[in-house]
């Protein structure tokens, strides 16, 4: 059984016991434990179930590469599935639950799949479930989907908060092991800004566990000393619990800092996502041990040799009383020594190599540990935990030579450098046949903005697996001189011997029990099947078998799988190649990626100066771009439509007030401003007299209508262009684009003054009365005629009044400084109380403009409509030789007389046409779709006329006034007559009074 040792444990604090639960059982651990260590200390060998066969799963590793030991952590709004126990720091009260098992971990119904394993090989679902078709539809498909996933689904909104931060550095060192520290120290001495990231809470990495000595002192001491000297340097920043997840182009690095995972409930951001711009990146990310592929290598109790060592040395946890070591290299002997020195039994070391004659094997033998050469494991016996191993000759086919009872197997198939951060931005790898690993190809490193390499692997990550080499390599990577490199003393290691399958001649029966991907249940036999069926590309094999697609993303399985595939294809491993490394290195939380952007600050909310007044008045909001505008102001128990009707009627009969502050207001000034506006608008603006207003249309160079608004001539050389609410920034950018990139020699300046002014539309028969009461400016018909403007002081506030109308009523738009917007709004309300003044919202605005037949950008236009379609020919200059969009509008399809054109539409029964309905035409098109001849663009109930009104685009519409079209909604036909689009006050006298 696994248990806590009486002494030792370099990372735990025995004076700080912590209690936690697993599947409801209360367990104990110490501060400094990982969840995995604490679970093992309580003999919790079985942690979860695998995805496909629901096989029992235990703890395989001690770090981020763990594929098995994932749990659900926390409760309610802090529940998190798939939490990796090997990287989660234990905290008091941690509530953990096992995954993918029902009804419970010990007897799991899903495990039936395990009995049928032979019938469920890789890709079996591609070959089955097809017939009969209804069965796929109603039976198989739903079942396949129900069996999805491992972790439980969170039920509640996350209770924690997250944040992000930017950082900049000359040198980013990823990894706080001895290599990373050595590289950082070397780089820092050069005076550059150095940032060091360590994903765990501890500096030093593996070296202290491996019993390395550096510069004559124990690794721990050297690490402490080096960290201290780094911390003392002003140009160095050290960050723990921060994992570099992704390296992007031009030296951009995304890293996640676990600020408060170990302090749940603290009023802190749980995670902080760093966005770091680094001049150079040194990836001192170490190496990850590989499992060996032998039958039963997935049974709980089988773990990586390095992990077994970690548990003993770091957390004083014995993975088992009797641990058999199986290896193809010398490093695993360190595990044997560590276990033995901790007083645990190592019945045997099975070394696949013909000879084990190195220094480490000698040390093992010296301790009386049996070393069996040329031996491997034929089969591990046991179900939910290891009971024994059957020993065989590695060279043979699995004939059992002896059976050794044990409760733990520590395996080592060699090490794979962690090259993820080097590969993500495009770095290429080379195969090191001697050590059976891919290492960075210095000739094909990822390149940055300057075309030069910007990521260097250092230490074990670059393939320097021996401590001494690793330190020298890292020191050099940091720019240090060889002479100053820290020197490591460690037992020399004899060469490893790649072993991809154990035994090498294993028959199918055994190969069906050799796991490669432990979470997804991909076995040697599956990869061989993929090869047999022609899924020869490594990407095909991965996708066909799901090898390496589990949440460890192949850290455990890729190289072994690759080797098996290459062997099956009879080609060398480099010829097969690797799959692409993609961010993140290990999973990072969506919360951290979204960070503070949620709720009210999910996106910027643009507010007008009167925003809070609208809110207080109970406005029903409508998002318009990033603005939020009042749709209507319901009163009492009014429905929205009742409110809209009231607002329309009141405005037409008395007086309405609209917050029009969101309208774009762009100042265009300069000797060439008129000429510029003539290019920008379809109509002539240069001829507009000072003091006057003119309606204008803007098209894209592709001919389509993109915006409209009233243009005002402020002075000889200055115009004010109003744009739609959503359009101000877009149109301003559009202007600057043409001014800077095409007509850059024209003398024109623009300024976006949209937010400098609040704008209030005073609309209705009583509009003039109200402004006269506010006093200060003569707004008489004579002094301020329709489509003119004036300036002065209104109600004591500097104001500019435009006599324009989007409603057909007597109407003034008053622009005042934003800082006075609210005051002016309130002044109007106070002065207009007895004039029947009521504020109205965007919907009433829409209804009134529709009653007048005015178009609305976004309703009548949709990016496919040109002004000529909308009967706006009067706003298009025939004389002007050129304007943006003019040439485009000359193209054959744009001049086609068959184009749909704008008309009014009135139902025969006065009902309201549904939004966006179409009118079919006789027959069908060549694709068998009903032919159409028109569609509704705007449709409303007109409280003024007491019936539905609409506008629409109809083929040759204006030529067909009086004709009745059948519109179709949900199969129902609605007859509507084509009519003039102006439904109200056709003569326009009301706005001219």
């Amino acid at each position: 059984m696994s248990t806590r040792l009486a002494t030792g444990g370099r990372l735990i604090d025995r004076s700080k016991p912590l209690s936690f639960t697993f599947d409801g059982r209360s367990l104990g651990g110490f501060a400094g434990d990982t969840l995995a260590a604490a679970l093992l200390a309580n003999d919790q060998m079985l942690i979860g179930r695998s995805f496909k066969y629901h096989r029992p799963r235990g703890i395989l590793a001690s770090g981020v590469e763990e594929p098995n030991a994932l749990v659900g952590l926390g409760q309610g709004p802090r529940f998190e599935p798939d939490q990796r126990t090997t990287t989660t720091e234990l905290f008091a009260g941690a509530a953990t639950v096992s995954q993918n098992a029902w009804p419970n971990l010990d007897l799991d119904i899903g495990a039936l799949n395990n009995l049928a394993y032979r019938f469920l090989p890789a890709g079996f679902y591609y070959k089955t479930f097809m017939f009969p078709r209804f069965a796929w539809k109603h039976l198989f498909e739903p079942v396949v989907r129900l069996s999805a996933g491992i972790g439980r689904v969170p039920k509640d909104r996350d209770a924690d908060r997250y944040e992000q931060a930017y950082d900049f550095t000359d040198v980013l060192v990823v990894g706080g092991g001895v290599a990373g520290l050595a590289a950082a120290l070397a780089a820092a001495k050069g005076g550059q800004r150095v940032l060091v990231l360590e994903q765990t809470a501890h500096w030093g990495g593996r070296a202290p566990v491996d019993g390395i000595a550096i510069n004559g002192m124990p690794a721990d001491a050297w690490v402490a000393e080096t960290v201290a000297s780094l911390a003392a340097l002003p140009n160095v920043t050290l960050r723990r619990r921060t994992m570099a997840a992704g390296v992007y182009d031009h030296g951009y690095v995304v890293a996640q800092e676990a600020v408060a995972d170990h302090l749940p409930g603290a009023d802190l951001p749980r995670h902080r996502l760093w966005r770091i711009r680094a001049g150079r990146i040194i990836a001192a990310t170490g190496a990850i041990e590989r499992p060996l592929a032998f039958a039963g290598n997935d049974i709980p109790g089988v773990m990586l040799a390095s992990a077994a060592r970690d548990y003993v040395v770091n957390w004083a946890v014995s993975p088992g009383d009797r641990t058999v070591i199986v290896t193809n290299n010398d490093d695993a002997y360190r595990t044997a020594l560590a276990l033995h020195d901790a007083g645990l039994v190592v019945p045997a070391i099975l070394d696949a190599r013909a000879k084990a004659a190195g220094e480490l094997p000698a040390l093992a033998r010296a301790r009386g540990i049996r070393v069996l050469e040329g031996r491997g494991i034929a089969r591990v016996k046991g179900g939910k935990r290891v009971k024994a191993v059957e020993v065989c000759a590695q060279a043979g086919e699995g004939a059992v030579l002896e059976t050794i009872a044990c409760d733990c197997v520590a395996m080592s198939g060699g090490f794979s450098p962690v090259v993820h951060l080097y590969s993500q931005p495009g770095g290429k790898l080379v195969w090191d046949a001697a050590n059976g690993m891919f290492t960075p190809d210095p000739a094909r490193a990822p390149t940055g903005a300057d075309g030069k390499p910007f990521v260097t692997c250092a230490g074990a990550a670059s393939g320097a697996l021996q401590a001494a080499d690793a330190l020298a390599d890292a020191h050099a990577a940091g720019g240090g001189e060889a002479a100053q490199a820290p020197r490591a003393e460690a037992a020399a290691e004899a060469p490893m011997q790649p072993v991809w399958m154990m035994p090498q001649g294993a028959p199918a029966k055994l190969r069906f029990k050799m796991w490669l991907d432990f979470q997804n249940d991909v076995k040697v036999s599956d990869v061989q099947l993929a090869a047999r069926e022609g899924y020869e590309s490594v990407e095909h094999t991965k996708r066909y078998t799901t090898l390496g697609m589990a949440s460890d993303q192949g850290k455990m399985s890729n190289i072994n799988g690759l080797a098996i595939l290459s062997d099956a294809l009879g080609q060398p491993i480099p010829a097969t190649g690797t799959t692409t490394f993609r961010p993140p290195y290990a999973p990072i939380s969506f919360g951290a990626i979204a960070a503070e952007a949620r709720g009210e600050i999910f996106q910027p909310l643009r507010r007008t100066p009167m925003h809070d007044w609208h809110a207080a008045a109970g406005a029903h909001w409508e998002p318009v771009g990033l603005w939020r505008r009042p749709y209507c102001y319901p009163r009492g128990g009014e429905s929205h439509s009742q409110a809209v009707n009231r607002e329309v009627t009141n405005t037409r009969q008395n007086l309405g007030l609209l917050d029009a502050s969101t309208l774009g207001k762009i100042l265009v000034k300069g000797p060439d401003a008129g000429r510029f506006l003539d290019m920008l608008y379809t109509g002539v603006m240069s001829s507009l007299p000072v003091g006057k207003c003119r309606y204008g249309l803007m098209c894209s160079e592709n001919g389509f209508l993109i915006d409209d608004g009233v243009v005002v001539r402020l002075a000889d050389d200055a115009w004010l262009c109003h744009t739609t609410s959503g359009g101000a920034d877009r149109i301003h950018a559009h202007m600057e684009d043409w001014l800077q990139c095409e007509w850059w020699d024209w003398q024109v300046y623009t300024a976006n003054l949209t937010e400098q002014f609040a704008q209030v539309a005073v609309v209705g028969p009583n509009a003039r009365k109200l402004l006269e009461r506010l006093g200060g400016i003569d707004v008489s018909k004579e002094a301020l005629p329709f489509m003119a403007f004036t300036e002065g002081t209104l109600a004591g506030i500097p104001a500019r009044i435009f006599r324009i109308s989007f409603s057909g009523e007597l109407s003034y738009e008053v622009a005042i400084p934003a800082s006075h917007g609210l005051a002016f709004w309130k002044a109007c309300l106070a002065a207009g109380a007895d004039l029947g003044l009521m504020p109205y919202g965007t919907e009433a605005l829409h209804v009134m403009r529709a009653e007048k037949g005015f178009i609305m950008i976004g309703d009548e236009t949709d990016g496919t409509v040109i002004p000529q379609d909308l009967g706006l020919g009067w706003a298009i200059s025939k004389k002007m030789p050129d304007y943006l969009g003019k040439r485009a509008q000359e193209r054959s399809h744009m001049t086609n007389p068959e184009r749909w054109k704008l008309v009014g539409l009135e139902t025969l029964d006065g009902s309201v046409l549904p939004d966006g309905v179409l009118a079919p035409a006789p027959g069908a098109n060549p694709n068998g779709q009903r032919a159409t001849q028109g569609r509704v663009t705007s449709t409303y109930f007109s409280p003024t006329l007491g019936c539905g009104i609409a506008m629409g685009l109809v083929r040759r519409g204006p030529e067909r006034i009086g004709e009745v079209l059948e519109f179709v909604a949900a199969g129902k036909s609605i007859p509507a007559r084509i009519c003039d689009q102006v439904f109200y006050d056709k003569s326009g006298e009301k706005q001219n009074v």
Partner: protein, 107 residues
């Protein structure tokens, strides 16, 4: 995540401060131009896998448009220059030739 140095204000701006504007050095064709020329101006794009000349606006910055010479296959940046350049200036061409000897040149 590109970083481009704005030639107008000198800031080494990151991608999120910039707005891309497509292929550079397009010649505008207006009324009177042939259908072919107009289509070419508005739609036909080189879209090369390699050296590319493109428009950028320092939108979250000085607001100016500028041009960049960039490799679309490696994202290497050869240089940035004024938007008012009718064609890539000699120093940019030289910078590209230095890095891409087999480059066919601007056309």
């Amino acid at each position: 995540m590109l970083t481009l140095t704005c030639p107008c204000c000198g800031v080494a701006a990151e991608e999120t401060e910039l707005a891309p504007g497509g292929e550079a050095h397009l010649k505008r064709f207006g009324p009177g131009a042939s259908d072919e020329d107009f289509e070419g101006y508005l739609f036909a794009r080189k879209n090369p896998k390699g050296v590319h000349f493109e428009r950028w606006r320092h939108a979250m910055g000085c607001g100016k448009w500028f041009l960049a010479a960039r490799c679309t296959a490696t994202l290497e940046v050869f240089g940035t220059y004024k938007a008012q350049s009718p064609e890539p200036p000699p120093e940019i061409i030289a910078a590209i030739k230095a890095r891409r000897p087999d480059w066919k040149g601007y056309s």
